[in-house]
């Protein structure tokens, strides 16, 4: 009962803060939500892999970087818009991910977790070094008119393209929810995630499920990589920082809680945008990320101890 009351009060406080921000500084809401969309769309595939296959994929950002380069190469070679290149890129990244899983990650599943971390860390370095050799470290960026699309309300003009990441994050969350609850493969994946040995006993092909989920996550990473290319410059080291951010968002949300990643990203995006409004606090925008993750994880462990 008390917990329900706290939840209601928190929701009301959140709604009040939202309205106050919309009146006082609407740009905090606009840019904070856009940034949250970017964070969430990159973190959600990691949430799927971590929740089901239980692997902290430290090459997550590098896979996204490789996908962005693939979409870039396709666009340059054929003149294809990255939004169309997104489909073949997602398919190719998925296949690539499946091969990587079969050849490397699969062999480390039963090894201690440290081995998996080292393996995926090594994969990440390999991917960025190969990209460096193939494409050099020089930055690449496609110039696309629609990226500068904007809306003007009174004195305020703001870009609207980045809302595409919000849409992508919501679509992935809804799609995954439907997949995990309405399809046989999805239900099997949830079962494998909860108890692989039990799932195997009831006849689920655990290895096939792991491979499928990894390939599905990589397909999403591929699609996000192509979307990322529309907004950002790409270079071999571009993915690295997103691995850490994605991992922390998944941890904040709780492993296996895909909608929670959306909420955690929103909290992070809005907090960063809020701090950047104040000249003296701009430098703190990066630190808020660590403060939030420490606060959430500490709060959760205290709650668990209490219960």
């Amino acid at each position: 009962m008390a917990s329900k009351r706290i939840k209601t009060m928190a929701t009301m406080a959140g709604a009040a803060a939202f309205v106050a921000l919309a009146i006082w500084k609407p740009t905090v809401l606009i840019y904070g939500t856009q940034q949250a969309g970017l964070y969430a769309s990159i973190a959600i595939p990691m949430g799927l892999v971590l929740g089901i296959v239980h692997i902290v994929n430290l090459a997550h950002g590098e896979f996204m970087m490789v996908a962005a380069y693939a979409a870039y190469s396709l666009s340059m070679a054929t003149g294809m818009d990255p939004l169309i290149a997104l489909i073949p890129t997602a398919a190719a990244t998925s296949l690539f991910g499946f091969l990587v899983y079969r050849l490397t990650i699969r062999n480390a599943l039963k090894a201690p977790e440290l081995n998996q971390l080292i393996l995926t860390f090594g994969l990440g370095i390999t991917l960025s070094q190969i990209t460096n050799i193939l494409f050099t470290s020089q930055t690449r960026k496609l110039s696309l008119d629609y990226v500068s699309a904007s809306v003007t309300i009174g004195e305020l003009s703001f870009g609207i393209w980045s809302f595409v990441f919000v849409a992508a994050a919501i679509a992935m969350t809804v799609g995954l929810k439907l997949f995990l609850t309405r399809t046989m493969m999805g239900k099997a994946a949830v079962a494998v995630g909860q108890n692989p040995r039990g799932a195997a006993i009831v006849g689920i092909d655990v290895d096939r499920t792991y491979g499928f989920i990894f390939a599905l996550a990589l397909a999403m990473v591929g699609a996000v990589g192509a979307l990322f290319l529309t907004k950002s410059s790409i270079f071999p080291g571009v993915g690295g920082p997103f691995t850490m951010k994605s991992f922390c968002l998944v941890a904040m949300a709780g492993v296996g809680n895909i909608p929670g990643i959306l909420a955690a990203s929103l909290l992070l995006g809005l907090s960063e945008a809020f701090l950047r409004v104040f000249r003296e606090l701009r430098g703190w925008a990066d630190i808020v990320f660590f403060v939030l993750i420490i606060a959430v994880i500490l709060g959760r462990s205290l709650k668990e101890r209490k219960s």
Binding site: Y31, T136, K141, S143, S148, T152, S232, K245
Partner: protein, 401 residues
């Protein structure tokens, strides 16, 4: 006894002949994963090839041994050790980032070999660590120090406003990346422009460091309504920042970028039109400068790509300056070489005759002036120094369509 003396003389003579025929070894240190170092070292190799094709120096061929410093101070220091003790190089060239250069200085001082530095603008760190003459006399710094750059920009904007009275600058806004490069730019801007102009600024997290959201910084800039908007960041910020500025309808009179390099194909983007930049060289100079054209044609013929950064002609110049000095000195011995380098007068592809003179601390500073350029129709045009201009500036920065 006579036989022993004859034998020793013969051995010594043979060694002398072998030494005379052996190549002169130059140790080059650049960050090879970065376009500046990659093209800088390639341009140095081009210069070596051209000199060797013309008969070498003092009847000997030049040999350039390149080591990657990976933009790290420890790797850079290890590179000096390796080049001097293992490869036994006669002289050292190269350098880009100040941090890496700082790491080399103890080893430079330990061995005292002549150094022609192509990078490192950080006077507060590198020049300070080198110290005054005579301890740093082995060091010939080609790249301008940060205060040289700042002073030349100030001089440049004064000259441009005098030449083009419609260009008026009163308010300057500096957007600077949160790292050391951006912060040092902000400190320099406040000192150099603070007295005569109204200056404001805001930091942003560069895309190169995992950032890439410029909204709050651009909002601050838009509210300030600057006549001159300068951003000090990296190539990864160039187009995304312009796209966001366009979306926010931010139209400063002058929009200027000061990254160390530009992204591939920046000039082909419509957004690049009339963006200004600080630099030292542009292919447009080929139209007015023979040395620039010779360098450019040679580079394109050898590497099948265009030099994308001024570190290429700068490193090319470093090798020619060194070769001329060795020729003049008649030896690679340090004292004689320093004396010959002091008398350098080299007509460089960078559009100026390079000589060495005293800077704030060290005795041998090469280039002191940078250039103000503008992207026009996809290529960088020099608009200042006025005597080297290849185009007149387009002003104001066009309103977004």
């Amino acid at each position: 006894m006579k036989r022993i003396v004859a034998l020793a003389t013969a051995v010594l003579m043979a060694q002398l002949v072998a030494a005379q025929g052996a190549p002169i070894k130059i140790g080059g240190i650049w960050p090879l994963s970065d376009i500046t170092g990659k093209q800088g070292s390639a341009a140095a190799q081009l210069a070596v090839a051209e000199i060797n094709k013309a008969g070498g120096v003092l009847g000997r061929q030049l040999e350039l041994i390149v080591v990657d410093d990976e933009l790290k101070a420890d790797k850079a220091a290890a590179a000096v050790e390796k080049l001097v003790t293992v490869d036994k190089v006669d002289v050292l060239v190269g350098g880009m980032a100040s941090g890496a250069e700082l790491g080399k200085i103890p080893a430079f001082k330990k061995y005292g070999k002549v150094v022609i530095a192509t990078g490192a603008a950080g006077s507060g760190t590198v020049e300070k660590a080198l110290g005054p003459s005579p301890d740093s006399d082995f060091y010939f710094h080609l790249h301008p120090w940060d205060y040289n750059q700042g002073a030349s920009y100030s001089e440049g904007w004064d000259a441009i406003q005098a030449q083009y009275p419609n260009m008026k600058i009163k308010k300057i806004f500096l957007a600077y990346e949160e790292g050391a490069f951006g912060k040092s730019s902000w400190d320099q801007t406040k000192v150099l422009f603070g007295g005569r102009y109204t200056v404001d600024g805001a930091p942003f997290k560069s895309a190169a460091m995992g950032g890439g959201d410029y909204a709050s910084m651009l909002e601050a800039a838009k509210d300030y309504k600057p006549d001159l908007f300068i951003w000090a960041g990296y190539d990864a910020d160039a187009l995304p920042m312009l796209e966001q500025a366009k979306a926010m309808k931010f139209n400063p009179g002058i929009y200027l970028g000061a990254p160390p390099g530009w992204p591939i194909g920046f000039g082909t983007s419509r957004l690049s039109a009339n963006v200004m930049l600080y630099g030292m060289w542009a292919p447009a100079m080929n139209d007015t400068n023979k040395a620039s054209k010779k360098f450019y044609d040679g580079f394109v013929a050898k590497f099948k790509e265009e030099p994308a950064t001024y570190f290429a002609p700068l490193s090319y110049s470093a090798i020619f300056i060194l070769a001329d000095a060795i020729k003049a000195a008649g030896t690679v011995e340090t004292a004689a070489l320093i004396k010959a380098l002091k008398a350098t007068k080299y007509e460089s592809p960078l559009g100026e005759v390079i000589t060495f003179s005293k800077s704030n601390i060290i005795a041998h500073q090469g280039i002191k002036r940078q250039k103000i350029l503008q992207w026009q129709a996809g290529r960088q045009e020099v608009i200042w120094p006025l005597e080297a201009k290849t185009e007149v500036p387009v002003y104001p920065f066009p309103q977004w369509k």
